[in-house]
Amino acid sequence: MTQLSSTEVENDAAETGPQSDERREAWAAQLAEALGDGFAEHHIIPGSDLWVRVNRESWTDAATAARDQLDCQFFDWLSAIDWLPSPYGRDMDAQEDNPEPKAADPMEQGHAGGETRFQMVMRLYSISEHMGITIKADLPDDDLSIDTLISAFPGANWHEREAWEMFGIHFNGHPDLRNIYLPGAFEGNPLRKDFPLLARRVKPWPGIVDVELFPGEEGP
């Protein structure tokens, strides 16, 4: 809903109720019931979005349950997040050239929590409800593998190939784990945080943020 004036903003807030979101609560409850122990945690931003974290073993079940019970027939996307703080500093735009790894910040996972460095993320969407859900699963460092979603959503095939080459996550039961973007001989997993972006290491970046502050303005 586009907000045209300040009065309307207040009305909208009163209508949707900023503190609660019954539809998303109901979805989370339904998934929790379907998955039992496999359901770990959920997080809701009222009126905006729903995150659910499940155990690795319940990954495929969560997709099937969301598809069948929540009517999430649309497979949006699948990927992973590497929560390791970049060992090259928080900001590669930093003006000092610092190839030495810094002491890492503590690792902090996002919405719906988590314990491990790598997390799987998938997004499903319900055409009938016009609502989406983000499902996450933790992957232990010593065994970066998870079941494939191809049986539930054939569209997961290419997304899993991408996650495989970019993060090095193995998908059990995937028929065709091959490189999708990178050349076959490529070494490493580029989207991992400890994979350096060499272009930045060999040449200073010309787009360093360099804003002259107004008098009295606070810096970043």
Binding site: M1, D49, F75, W77, R123, G132, T134, G155, F195, P220
Partner: protein, 392 residues
């Protein structure tokens, strides 16, 4: 010519019958053939390579090979500040660039809990629709040229200029406007722009009418696209098909209407077009109707453009609070979304780009199975992808 004796004639007749028997009794075997299409082929819009294993004229297995244009935007976005990222993502779908910027900006605005002022939202929507028209116009000409009709593509390039000129007049960039800002827009509209744009929309409606007759009414076009490449709705959804591709399979879903992003689509009166057939013809038909609908959306938005500021109050150095947000909009090619993870820095921690073409084209191994070779071109053309949108 020498005369053939009776004996020789008898001998030849015998050989001929033997040969005919042999042909009947032996099962004819054709060796499978591998056909390589691309990476430099007009049907591939850039550098998609398609390897098809054929049995005779039929495709047994088709395998798209991507990556010739992979630029690693998800990695690059992790070392750029939020305003710098829009420069990159302009180049994902290069025909509808402005539309690429909007979902990223919306995701960042969600995290910052900022909302653009109404005027900015309306102008955003206008420019969004203009880039849709510019993008799909080219598709309308391009699919026709791939089916052997040469003229439409020239008309498409010619008439697309009307729209590109308006985009350029407002933003300064024909293809890469880089105009959207967190909290609003870079500039207001120039003087006289609204009238010029309305005239351009008038011309685009003429263009659509002309194409409806010229292409959709063409018997050859119909013969080559009707019933070709049928996508059932539930298969399309499971593969993540979005946009006009899924609406051509009868799914009434459009993120402009059904999404909850801060754009002005709910302020105007318009219609979502669907087609029940799900074939290549339907996909062309839906896109043509959408282009015409988009001109009406632009006209209405320009009529009701609210006045006011075009930037919300945001700090000059943008630090986005920690959190995660996903914002998706209905781009010319389908659903495009950005999943942005922020740790409260100047740069995003992780950006997952959900591009429409990647999912749209992931159905091709399924869809191309069993089709005839010329239909490969029809199907690829009708699914409509931009390579930059697949490879990112």
């Amino acid at each position: 010519m020498t005369a053939v004796s009776a004996d020789q004639r008898q001998q030849l007749a015998y050989v001929a019958t033997q040969a005919a028997d042999a042909r009947l009794n032996v099962e004819i075997e054709t060796e499978g053939m591998t056909l390589n299409i691309g990476p430099q082929h007009p049907a591939t819009h850039g550098t998609l390579r398609l390897v098809a294993r054929l049995d005779g004229e039929q495709v047994v297995e088709a395998e798209p090979i991507m990556g010739y244009m992979h630029r690693g935007y998800e990695k690059l976005a992790e070392v750029r500040t939020y305003p710098q990222v829009t420069t990159l993502i302009n180049r994902i779908d290069w025909l509808g660039s402005f539309a690429n910027e909007v979902p990223f900006i919306l995701a960042a605005e969600k995290l910052m809990e900022v909302e653009a002022p109404p005027r900015a939202q309306w102008i955003r929507t206008v420019l969004f629709e203009l880039s849709r028209i510019a993008n799909i116009t080219l598709f309308l000409g391009d699919m026709a040229v791939q089916l052997g009709a040469l003229t439409p593509v020239f008309m498409a390039f010619r008439d697309r200029e009307f729209v590109l000129n308006q985009i350029e007049a407002a933003t300064g960039g024909r293809f890469h406007p880089n105009f959207d800002r967190i909290g609003g827009l870079k500039d207001d509209l120039p003087q006289g722009w609204i009238d010029d744009t309305k005239q351009a929309m008038e011309k685009m409606r003429d263009f659509c009418d002309e194409f409806e007759e010229l292409v959709l009414g063409n018997e050859i076009f119909q013969a080559r696209s009707r019933g070709i490449g049928i996508v059932p709705a539930e298969v399309g959804l499971a593969y993540g098909l979005s946009g006009a591709n899924i609406r051509a399979s009868g799914v009434d879903w459009d993120l402009r209407r059904d999404g909850h992003e801060a754009l002005a689509y709910d302020q105007v009166d318009w219609k979502v077009w669907t087609h029940p057939d799900g074939d290549s013809f339907a996909r062309y038909w839906v896109r043509l109707q959408e282009t015409r609908e988009a001109t009406h959306i632009v006209d209405q938005l320009l009529d009701g453009l609210p006045s006011g500021p075009i930037m919300a109050k945001v700090p000059r150095i943008i630090k986005v609070p920690a959190g995660e947000a996903y914002a998706a909009t209905e781009n010319p090619l389908g659903e495009m979304g950005y999943y942005v993870v922020s740790k409260g820095d100047l740069v995003p921690f992780r950006v997952k780009i959900r591009s429409a073409s990647f999912s749209n084209i992931s159905i091709t191994p399924w869809l191309l199975k069993g089709v005839y070779v010329p239909d490969i071109i029809t199907i690829l053309a009708s699914l409509y992808f931009i390579l930059g949108d697949i490879d990112r």
